[in-house]
C-alpha cells in the first residue's frame, strides 16, 4: 500500500510518501491562505525525487493523512464563521464569566502574571447578541426537569440566523449526563435548516464542566464550515490529480480520523501537527526500547516539547486557545516561540539592554535575513549560519543558497546595543535560545513530577538536531536520539503517514475504594459500545486487540487525578483484582515521585472516569527512507570553520554526511553531521553514533 503523511507547519509543509519500496520526503513553503498549494508543492518535490510527475505520484496513493497547525490562528484572530450559541436559560454568561480569574490568566506564562493591566479577559468568542437562553434544565443524575420546546429552539435559531450567524453551537447544562435535550434541538434545527453547521456539546465532550465543554463546542462550530470547505478543496485538488484513495486527518491526540470525523469534530484537528511527531517518536522509541523520552521538535516558528513515559505519550484533557480553556483530548505538548525563524531583539525595559529571542517569527516571508527576501531582523537561523552550523550553499535545494552577508548585517546591527560583532551576537542568540528550550524541558518534566534523568531526548524537526547538543550540555549531558536517514526534518509528516486510527471515549464513574467490578462494568460497556461501533466501521478484526482502557484515579477529595492503565477484558470475566491493582499502582506513583511513604496507603481512593482508547493500525508499510548515496569509505565530505562555545574559538571542523554513516559508526566532536534539511552539531566532548536501526545517538562525556 502507498501511504502519505502531510504536515502543514507554520513555515514549511512537509510530505512523506511511504511504499513497500521505500520512503520519500519533500518540503515546500506553507501557503497560509491556500494550504492546498503548499501540499501539492511538497508532493511535487517527492515526485521529482522519484522521477515521476505529480499526477503519477498522487494517483498511486492509497491513503493521505493530513496534520496541520492551522485552526489555532483562525480562532485567535476570529477569522472563522460567526457562531451563535443556544444554552440553558440562566447560564447565558458562562462564556463571559470564564470561571472568573481563569479568563484573565489561562494560557499566560508565569512571568506575565506580574502585570495585572496586561491580564484582561480576551475578546468574546461569541457576542452577547448571538447567544440565546433556552428554557430547559437537565440535572446531574440525567433527569430532565424541563424539556426544551421545538418552537422555542426554532425561534431562537431563526433570530440568530437573521442576525447574521452562520453556524451554531448547542450547549446545555448536564448534557454530558443526558444528551437528549441537545440532540432533540439538533434534530429540530436540522429538519428546518439542513445546511446549517450545528455542533452539540454532548458530541464534543462527555466531561462534567459546562464552561470548558461550551468553549470546545463553540470552537468546533466556529471551525466547522471553514473546515468543511478546506477538506473539500484539498480533496478536490488531490482528486483532480487522480487520487483515488482515502483522505484521513491527524488529530491532536495523535490518531487519525476520516473525513466525516474531521467534519463533525474539527476542534480535534486544531494544533494536530505536533501530534505527528509524537506518534513517530513513540514508534522509534519502541524500536529503540526507550521507555521514557523527552520529545523536542523545533521548526521554523516554535519549539515543542512532548513526553513519552513508560512507553506511552503523555496526554492531557484540556487546552487553551486565546485564554479560553476547553475540553479536548490531546498529546501533551507545550510550546515556546523559539524556532529557526524566531527574531532576536533587544529588550530595553530593564536596567541594561537584554537580548531576547522570539516569540515573534519572521515566518516564511520575509523569512530570516539570510533568505535575502528583505527580512531585516536577525533570527536563530541567521545565527546558525554565521557560526558555521549550517551551510549557505544549496540550502533550499540545488542552486538556491542562503546569503551570509545579509545575516552578518542583521546580527551586526543587533549587536550594537552591547558592542558585539556579528559572531559574538550570533553566539549569544544561540545561548539564549538554547536556555529557553532547556527551561521548557524542565517545565515539562520537573513541574509534572518527572525526574528528567530517567529520560532520553528525541530531537527532530529541522532545528532540533542543531540545538540538541547545546541543550544536552545544559541538562547534564542527557543522551539524545536523532532520527536517521533524513527523517528528522519531516518527522511529524512521517508520524502522520504511519499513525494509527485513534479515538478516545470517556465516561464518568464516581466510585471509591473498595469499588466493585459491578460499579465499573456498566460504564465500560457504555464506552465500549461506542468504540465497537467505530471499530466495525473501520473493519477492525478483534475488539480486544484494538481497545485499551485507562482510569482517572485520585485520593478522596483530591481535585487532581492520575490517568492509569486499566486491565479489562472485553469478553468479560474481569476479576476483583482491579481494585487492589489500580489503587496499588496509584500509591506507587506517588511514592516514586515524592518518596516512600508519601502515598499514605490505605487512604480512600476514587475512580472518577474510565477512558476507552480505540487504536486501529492502518496497513501502512514504511520501508526504509530512500538512501541517496551508497556506502562510502568515509562519511566526511569536507570541512568548515565553525565557532564552538566550549573553546570560544573557531575550529576547522569536519563535515560528515549523515546518510554515509555506517551502522555502529561513531563520530567524535567537534563535527557537523549533515542530514536532509538539517544537521547535528556534535560539540567537543560529544560523540554521535549511528545505532542499529533508524537512530543517531548523541552522547556527552561527563567530566
Amino acid at each position: 500500500m502507498n501511504g502519505c503523511g502531510i504536515d502543514i507547519g507554520g513555515t514549511f509543509t512537509d510530505a512523506v510518501v511511504t511504499s513497500p519500496e521505500g520512503c520519500w520526503t519533500g518540503k515546500a513553503e506553507t501557503t497560509p491562505d491556500r494550504p492546498a498549494v503548499g501540499v501539492l508543492g511538497a508532493l511535487e518535490v517527492v515526485a521529482a525525487k522519484r522521477g515521476l510527475s505529480r499526477q503519477e505520484l498522487i494517483s498511486d496513493l492509497d491513503q493521505v493523512v493530513l496534520g496541520s497547525t492551522i485552526g489555532t490562528n483562525a480562532v485567535v484572530e476570529r477569522k472563522t464563521e460567526r457562531a451563535g450559541l443556544l444554552t440553558t436559560h440562566g447560564f447565558e454568561d458562562t462564556l463571559f464569566v470564564m470561571r472568573g480569574g481563569m479568563g484573565r490568566t489561562a494560557g499566560h506564562r508565569w512571568d506575565e502574571l506580574g502585570d495585572p493591566f496586561a491580564l484582561r479577559k480576551p475578546r468574546p468568542l461569541v457576542a452577547r447578541r448571538d447567544i440565546r437562553g433556552i428554557s430547559e434544565r437537565t440535572l446531574q443524575d440525567g433527569t430532565i426537569l424541563v424539556s426544551p420546546t421545538p418552537a422555542e429552539i426554532l425561534a431562537a435559531t431563526e433570530s440568530l440566523l437573521s442576525g447574521g450567524v452562520k453556524c451554531l453551537a448547542v450547549s446545555f447544562l448536564w448534557a454530558c449526563r443526558n444528551p437528549a435535550s441537545e440532540q432533540m434541538a439538533k434534530k429540530v434545527i436540522a429538519a428546518e435548516y439542513p445546511d446549517l453547521y450545528v455542533s452539540c456539546s454532548s458530541d464534543v465532550s462527555s466531561r462534567v464542566g459546562e464552561y470548558e465543554r461550551t468553549v470546545a463546542t463553540v470552537i468546533n462550530a466556529m471551525l466547522g464550515p471553514t473546515n468543511e470547505r478546506l477538506i473539500a478543496t484539498l480533496e478536490d485538488c488531490l482528486r483532480a490529480d487522480g487520487f483515488g484513495g482515502t483522505l484521513f486527518f491527524l488529530t491532536s491526540s495523535g490518531g487519525v480520523v476520516d473525513s466525516k470525523g474531521a467534519n463533525d469534530t474539527p476542534v480535534m484537528l486544531v494544533g494536530s501537527g505536533p501530534a505527528g511527531g509524537v506518534a513517530a517518536s513513540a514508534a522509534l522509541a519502541a524500536e529503540q526500547d526507550h521507555p521514557n523520552a523527552i520529545l523536542c521538535d523545533m521548526g521554523g516558528t516554535t519549539f515543542d516539547v512532548g513526553l513519552i513515559w513508560k512507553h506511552s505519550p503523555l496526554r492531557r484533557a484540556e487546552d487553551v486557545i486565546d485564554g479560553y480553556t476547553f475540553y479536548r483530548p490531546s498529546v501533551d505538548v507545550v510550546s515556546v516561540g523559539a524556532g529557526g525563524g524566531s527574531i532576536a531583539w533587544v529588550d530595553l525595559e530593564g536596567e541594561t539592554p537584554r537580548l531576547r529571542v522570539g516569540p515573534q517569527s519572521a515566518g516564511a516571508v520575509p523569512g530570516p535575513a539570510c533568505y535575502g527576501r528583505g527580512g531585516m531582523d536577525a533570527t536563530v537561523t541567521d545565527a546558525n549560519l554565521v557560526l558555521g552550523y549550517i551551510a549557505a550553499v544549496d540550502y533550499f535545494g540545488p542552486g538556491r543558497s542562503l546569503d551570509p552577508a545579509c545575516a552578518h548585517r542583521a546580527l551586526d546591527e543587533l549587536g550594537r546595543h552591547w558592542g558585539w560583532d556579528a559572531e559574538q551576537t550570533a553566539a549569544n542568540v544561540i545561548r539564549v535560545v538554547n536556555a529557553q528550550m532547556a527551561d521548557l524541558i524542565r517545565q515539562m518534566t520537573v513541574q509534572r513530577g518527572f525526574d528528567p534523568d530517567g529520560f532520553r531526548m528525541y530531537a527532530f524537526g529541522g532545528g532540533s538536531p542543531l540545538h540538541i547538543g547545546g541543550i544536552a550540555k545544559q541538562l547534564h549531558g542527557r543522551e539524545a536520539v536523532i532520527p536517521a536517514d533524513g527523517a528528522a526534518s519531516v518527522f511529524s509528516a512521517l508520524g502522520a503517514a504511519t499513525a494509527d486510527i485513534v479515538r478516545v471515549f470517556s465516561a464518568t464513574v464516581g466510585a471509591s475504594t473498595p469499588w466493585s467490578v459491578g460499579q465499573i462494568e456498566p460504564v465500560i460497556d457504555e464506552v465500549l459500545g461506542q468504540a465497537a461501533e467505530l471499530a466495525r466501521q473501520f473493519g477492525a478484526p478483534s475488539l480486544q486487540e484494538v481497545v485499551t482502557f485507562t482510569a482517572m484515579v485520585g485520593y478522596g477529595g483530591q481535585v487532581h487525578a492520575l490517568e492509569l492503565p486499566l486491565m479489562w477484558s472485553v469478553s468479560g470475566g474481569n476479576d476483583r483484582e482491579i481494585e487492589v491493582d489500580l489503587a496499588e499502582r496509584f500509591f506507587e506513583w506517588y511514592d516514586e515521585r515524592f518518596g516512600q511513604g508519601f502515598s499514605m496507603r490505605g487512604r480512600r481512593v476514587e475512580l472518577r472516569e474510565v477512558r476507552c482508547i480505540l487504536r486501529i493500525a492502518r496497513a501502512v508499510t514504511s520501508g526504509p527512507l530512500a538512501q541517496v548515496h551508497g556506502a562510502a569509505d568515509s562519511a566526511q565530505v569536507g570541512d568548515r570553520r565553525v565557532w564552538w562555545p566550549e573553546t570560544a574559538a573557531w575550529i576547522d571542523t569536519p563535515i560528515m554526511e549523515g546518510e554515509r554513516l555506517g551502522s555502529g559508526e561513531t563520530v567524535a566532536g567537534p563535527a557537523i553531521v549533515t542530514l536532509e534539511r538539517s544537521a547535528v552539531l556534535v560539540h567537543p566532548g560529544q560523540q554521535l553514533t549511528h545505532s542499529n536501526g533508524r537512530a543517531l545517538i548523541l552522547r556527552t562525556s561527563v567530566s
Binding site: G100, S135, V146, V208, E212, R593
Partner: protein
C-alpha cells in the same frame, strides 16, 4: 521558574478545592536572611507572611533553635506571620557546603485545622483560644522526611483529617521539588555565584523601587473604610484607617485612626495587615515589584499601632483576618498608592481601583440529604467579583480581584455534582461595577434553591453589603453594595411544572427580603431561593469623560442599563443603541451644573488653555495641574486647592443620597441603616468630578 515548580507540585498533590480552584496558596524563594528573591504568581495575600516566619525562626535560632540541612518548619501563628490560622506556612532552609544560603517556602489555606466551627471562621469567638490551634514554627521535616509524630499532631486538629494529610504533604513536596532544582543550580553555577545573583536581584529591585519613588512628589495621604457590622445581630460600625507618607525614596504605611480591637473576630494581626499592603504594592507597581518584592520591602516602613482592629494584640480573635483586615488594608493601600504613583506616566494607565472581593463574602449550605447524610458546601462564587478599573482601561466583569489574580470558581456542574441544591442562574450583573471614564467590572450574581434535601441551612459571612465598600479612583464611582436576598415561598417549582426554567432573578417571584451580610443560620425550605450578588470593581475617572459611543456600546452589550447611562454618564441612548446627541449634551450640562452648584458655561469662563508641552500633572491626581504655584482643574483652569498638599481644599464637596447614585439598590441605600451617603468632590468651575467617597454619618447608626 522555581516558584512555579513548587506551585505546580502543590497543585497536583493537594486535595483541596480551595487550593486547586481558588489558588489559595503561594510559594517563594528567599535569601538566607529571609528577603524575597522571587514570589509565585498565585494569591498574593500570602505575601507578607513567609519572610516573617523565616525572621522568627532566625531570631529563635539565637536562643537555641537549630536550623539544619534537611529541615522544614511549619507555622500558622498570626503573631509570627500567618494571615490567619488556616494559612499554614512551611519554610525550608537550603544549604550548600554547610552554609545556609536560601529559604524556600509556601503558604497554603487549609480547609479545616480545628476551632469551634467547620473551616475555623466562627463569627462568635471572643478570643483566639476558641479558634484553630496556633503552631509557632515547629520542625515538621527532619532529614527531608516528614516527622510522623508532628504530622499526626497537626492532622489530629482537623475535622477533615484526610484533606489535611494531603495538603501538608503537598506543601512538603512542593518545597522538596523546588529544593532539588535549586541544589541543581547551586551545583552547576556554584553557591557563591547563585547567592550573589540573588542578592543582586534583590538590590536591583530595591534600587528600581527607590528610583520610582524618588521621581514622585512627596506627600501624605489618608483613607478610611468602614465595616457594616461585626457579627450576626451585632451591627456595630467599625472604622479602619490608613496613612501613607512618601518621602524621597521610601514610603511608610500606618494604621493610626483605626478603631481599637474588639472581642469579636473582626481583627487582624500585624502580618495580615502588612500582607494586605504588600499585595497592593505588588499590584500597583506591577512588573517592577510583583515577582520579586524583596528589594521594595527595604524601602517600605510599616508603623503599626498595636491594639487596633488592624494590628490586634494576642489573644484577640483573628481567624477571619484574610477575608477582612487583609482585604480592607489592601483596598485602602490600592487607592492611596494610585495617588502616590499618579505622577508616573508609565504607571498611571495601569493603576487599578479596588476589586469587589476585598473583603470576601462567602455563603455556605449545610443540611441533611434524603438518606439522612449530612453535607456542607461552600460557595466561593463571589471570588469572581468585578475587577477594579485601571487608569487606562476597564476592569473585567467577573474577572476577580487584582490582588488575587487567577482565582478560579468551579463550574455550576461541579458544584451541583455534590447534590443538595440547584443553581437557578449564574450571570454577570449589569450596573454593579463603579461608573467612570473607565468602568469597574460588573459583579457575578447567582441564585440557588435546595433540591431533594430533608433540611437545609444557609449561612452568609461578608461585608460590603450595608453600603458600597469598593471605592473608585479619581472621580470614578464605587461599585454598588453587595446584595444577599432571600426569596421565601418562590414559584420556582410552579414554573418548572409549567415547563419553564426561571433562569433570572426577575422570574423568581416570592416574598423577597434583603439580608445583612452576616447571617449564621437561614433555614431554607424547598421553595426558598437564596440570591447573592458579589462585589463589582471601582471605576476610574469622571464618568462624563467616557465617550458616549462607548457608553452606548456598554448599553447594547447589557453591561450598563439605559437608566445608569443617563443617571451616571449623562448619555441618552435609544432602544436601537444610538446616542441622542442633543439630549446627552443637555443631560451632561445638567449634571455638571448640579456638581458645581451653578450653571456651567459651555466654554468654561476665561477659556483657559492648559500650559503647552507635556501636561505637568500635579502628581496626585490626573485631572489637576500645578500652574503658577496653584493646583488647577486641568479642564477649565479653575483653582481648586490652596496648595500642592491640599489640592482639593477649594473644590466643591456635596453629599448625595446613595440611592440617587446607585443604579442598583441595596439595603444601605435607604437613609436609615448606617446613614451612608456619597460625597462628590468636583470643580466649581466646570463641574468635573475629582473624587467620590462614601461617608458614614455615625449619628445615624
Amino acid at each position: 521558574m522555581l516558584t512555579e515548580e513548587c506551585a505546580s507540585t502543590v497543585m497536583t498533590t493537594s486535595g483541596s478545592p480551595v487550593v486547586v480552584f481558588g489558588r489559595d496558596f503561594n510559594s517563594a524563594v528567599m535569601t538566607a536572611t529571609g528577603e524575597y528573591v522571587f514570589f509565585g504568581r498565585n494569591i498574593k495575600i500570602h505575601a507578607g507572611v513567609m519572610d516573617l516566619v523565616v525572621s522568627d525562626i532566625l531570631a529563635s535560632a539565637e536562643s537555641g533553635l537549630e536550623v539544619r540541612d534537611g529541615d522544614m518548619f511549619l507555622s500558622n501563628d498570626p503573631w509570627v506571620g500567618s494571615g490567619h490560622q488556616n494559612d499554614v506556612v512551611v519554610v525550608c532552609p537550603v544549604f550548600a557546603d554547610g552554609r545556609l544560603l536560601f529559604w524556600l517556602g509556601n503558604a497554603l489555606h487549609h480547609m479545616d485545622i480545628g476551632g469551634s466551627v467547620v473551616g475555623g471562621r466562627s463569627s462568635r469567638t471572643k478570643s483566639v483560644f476558641e479558634e484553630p490551634t496556633i503552631f509557632p514554627p515547629v520542625r515538621i521535616v527532619e532529614g527531608d522526611r516528614l516527622r510522623p509524630d508532628l504530622a499526626r499532631l497537626f492532622v489530629r486538629q482537623s475535622r477533615l483529617p484526610s484533606y489535611e494529610a494531603l495538603d501538608l504533604r503537598a506543601q512538603v513536596a512542593g518545597n522538596l521539588v523546588a529544593k532539588r532544582r535549586l541544589l541543581e543550580m547551586l551545583g552547576e553555577f556554584g553557591p557563591d555565584a547563585v547567592s550573589s545573583i540573588a542578592e543582586t536581584l534583590v538590590a536591583e529591585g530595591g534600587r528600581r523601587f527607590e528610583r520610582i519613588l524618588q521621581g514622585l512628589p512627596d506627600g501624605e495621604w489618608h483613607d478610611e473604610a468602614y465595616l457594616d457590622g461585626v457579627a450576626d445581630g451585632d451591627d456595630r460600625l467599625c472604622r479602619v484607617a490608613m496613612r501613607v507618607v512618601k518621602e524621597g525614596g521610601s514610603i511608610e504605611f500606618a494604621d493610626d485612626g483605626s478603631d481599637p480591637q474588639l472581642d469579636s473576630p473582626v481583627n487582624c494581626a500585624f502580618g495580615a495587615w502588612r500582607s494586605g499592603i504588600i499585595c497592593a504594592v505588588m499590584s500597583q507597581f506591577g512588573t517592577d515589584v510583583a515577582l520579586s518584592p524583596g528589594g521594595a520591602l527595604r524601602h517600605i516602613r510599616f508603623t503599626p499601632e498595636p491594639g487596633t482592629l488592624l494590628n490586634a494584640n494576642h489573644p484577640a480573635p483573628v481567624n477571619r483576618a484574610t477575608g477582612l483586615g487583609v482585604g480592607l488594608s489592601a483596598g485602602m493601600a490600592m487607592r492611596l498608592l494610585a495617588e502616590v504613583l499618579c505622577g508616573s506616566a508609565t504607571h498611571r494607565p495601569k493603576l487599578a481601583a479596588v476589586s469587589g472581593s476585598e473583603p470576601l463574602i462567602i455563603a455556605g449550605l449545610t443540611g441533611r440529604g434524603p438518606t439522612g447524610s449530612k453535607y456542607f458546601r461552600v460557595f466561593t462564587d463571589p471570588v469572581a467579583c468585578g475587577s477594579g478599573a485601571f487608569g487606562g482601561g476597564d476592569g473585567d466583569a467577573t474577572g476577580g480581584s487584582t490582588i488575587n489574580l487567577g482565582a478560579v470558581i468551579p463550574n455550576v456542574e461541579e458544584y451541583e455534582a455534590f447534590g443538595g441544591y440547584l443553581y437557578l442562574f449564574r450571570r454577570e450583573e449589569p450596573d454593579t461595577g463603579g461608573a467612570g471614564e473607565w468602568r469597574g467590572g460588573n459583579a457575578l450574581s447567582y441564585g440557588v434553591v435546595p433540591y431533594q434535601v430533608e433540611s437545609s441551612v444557609a449561612n452568609v459571612t461578608g461585608w460590603g453589603v450595608g453600603f458600597p465598600t469598593f471605592a473608585g479612583n479619581f472621580g470614578g464611582y464605587p461599585a454598588t453594595a453587595r446584595r444577599v436576598e432571600l426569596v421565601r415561598g418562590c414559584d420556582v417549582w410552579r414554573s418548572v411544572s409549567d415547563g419553564c426554567w426561571p433562569g433570572s432573578e426577575e422570574e423568581i417571584k416570592g416574598d423577597a427580603t434583603l439580608l445583612p451580610g452576616r447571617m449564621e443560620t437561614i433555614d431554607l425550605g424547598d421553595s426558598d431561593a437564596l440570591i447573592l450578588v458579589s462585589g463589582g470593581g471601582g471605576g476610574v475617572g469622571d464618568p462624563l469623560d467616557r465617550p458616549a459611543a462607548m457608553v452606548a456600546q456598554d448599553v447594547v452589550e447589557g453591561a450598563v442599563s439605559h437608566r445608569a447611562a443617563s443617571l451616571l454618564y449623562g448619555v441618552v441612548v435609544d432602544d436601537s443603541g444610538q446616542v441622542d446627541g442633543e439630549a446627552t449634551l443637555l443631560r451632561q450640562r445638567e449634571i455638571r451644573a448640579r456638581r458645581a452648584g451653578r450653571e456651567v458655561p459651555e466654554q468654561p469662563a476665561g477659556a483657559w488653555e492648559a500650559p503647552a508641552g507635556p501636561a505637568p500633572v500635579m502628581g496626585a491626581h490626573p485631572a489637576i495641574l500645578m500652574h503658577e504655584g496653584r493646583p488647577r482643574c486641568a479642564r477649565c483652569g479653575f483653582i481648586v486647592g490652596a496648595a500642592a498638599r491640599s489640592y482639593l481644599s477649594l473644590a466643591s464637596a456635596r453629599s448625595v443620597p446613595l440611592r440617587d447614585r446607585m443604579a442598583v439598590s441595596g439595603i444601605g441605600d435607604e437613609p436609615t441603616g448606617w446613614g451612608a451617603s456619597l460625597v462628590e468632590v468636583s470643580c466649581p468651575g466646570c463641574g468635573h468630578l475629582f473624587s467620590t467617597n462614601v461617608a458614614i454619618d455615625k449619628a445615624g447608626a
